[in-house]
Amino acid sequence: MVLSIADALGSRAIRATRSLGKMGMFLGASLARAAVPPYRVRNIVKQVHFVGVKSVFVIVLTAAFTGMVLALQGFYTLRKFGSEGLLGSAVALSLIRELGPVLSALMVTGRAGSALTAEIGIMRIGEQIDSLETMGIDPMQFLVAPRILGFLLSVPLLTAIFDVIGIYGGYLVGVKLLGVNAGVFLGQMEASVVLGDVTNGIWKSLAFALLIAWVCTFKGYFARHGAEGVSRATTSAVVVSSVLVLVCDYFITSVLL
């Protein structure tokens, strides 16, 4: 009984280690392909359009309501301590340091990451990836590298848009709805936000972009067993990416603080 449990645990550990190693090799290979020519600029631009431009609407919507609810909650909490004037700082810092990078990453995972896994998974199941290989075209360079670069270019920009729209949403609720003085809101925000906060947000968004692109392309690239397999890979890619974004957020924050 004990032996069989140990055996099962050992097998799981070996499988997990093997899978992690495979993921590591995949990331290394795709980054290496991204670094050397041909750079396939057209493919990269296409990905920036798909991941970036097409995600703007959902990012703007999410950012606006996040900023608004932050201002609403923040206002009533700060009023208890007579510090409504700090609302601008609270909204801006929360968004720039945490919510901007994390929520942008989660939104991009849901909108573009899932589509990426499904697209590559269908290409794998439909032998299109094999077909590329038979033509002497490296699928890692043709498919994976441009997608990773597309995410790396788009996610930080989307995060910046998220921050700006979120702050504006907070401003609307705080100043126009709840009556906080506009000068105080903006002045406090300017005084408390430093360049380090912005760069930390950018580092985070870059890390999240790499993470999402890595997990989603990996899951799609090794999808098996038909339509159901692609569906499983897509679900797994979204869940794993989202959880990893939150886990990494903690560790990056603890390093950058």
Partner: protein, 287 residues
Amino acid sequence: MQDGNDGNRAGLDQQASDGKEWVCKPCHVGPYTGPKREPVLRLIDVEKTLDGRKVLDGVTLEIPRGQITAIIGLSGAGKSLLLKHMIGLMKPDRGQVLLDGVDINRLTRQGLNDARKRFGMLFQSGALFDSLTVFENVAFPLREKTSTPEGELREKVRGILRKVGLEKAVEKFPDELSGGMVRRVALARAVVMDPEIILFDEPTTGLDPIIRNSILNLICRTYHEHHFTMVMISHDLPDIFQRCQHFAVVHDGRVVEVGTSEEIQHSVDPFVRQLVDGDIAGPVQLM
């Protein structure tokens, strides 16, 4: 049951003498008359295990240059895997795959990509890029692997599409095509780079008899025009006996017999007999 190794050599020798007489009966396509008759591809003792099951068990096979070789056998016998090993899509656990004497599994990534330029492959599903139109699918290898001027490229692609009877479908996407049209586009894409060797993975499976014959005629016509080396997995027995010069029978991951159409049709091996005759009774009991 004849051993794959011995049978292979015997089959090639036989083929060398018989090849001159060979004519595809439905298409009246003549034999290869080029100078070289040595095998272009050789698989030596290839073994592959997937999910704990040995799917290729010491396969030894030679693919003669400039001929159509048919690989036949039951579904799940390892035929498609064999094809994937020939082009380096899969690496064997043991054994060698020699392309003109060079083991393709020992090549660098670049070397393998260069070797693959000599191949064209038609997948069972067609494997067309579903986000590209018919024209773009056929033009894709030319755009990616050559610096052909756009005008010349368009002319070449349209010419090939005309030959396969799809000049009016250039702007269609793969999901707007019938099964037969998909295979014809895939055939056009496989030959657009003028490869030396074309691999066909069940090019006619699932098609009605008229479309099936038109695809087979198209393959024969392509062979007649270029005399590519062709390797074709097919279940179209007995039609295929009239169209191919060289045969390999695969069973349980092994090549059990190789030879000419006549030799396979008159084989005394019980499995080959059952396969050729399509008998329910025989060494393979499915139910």
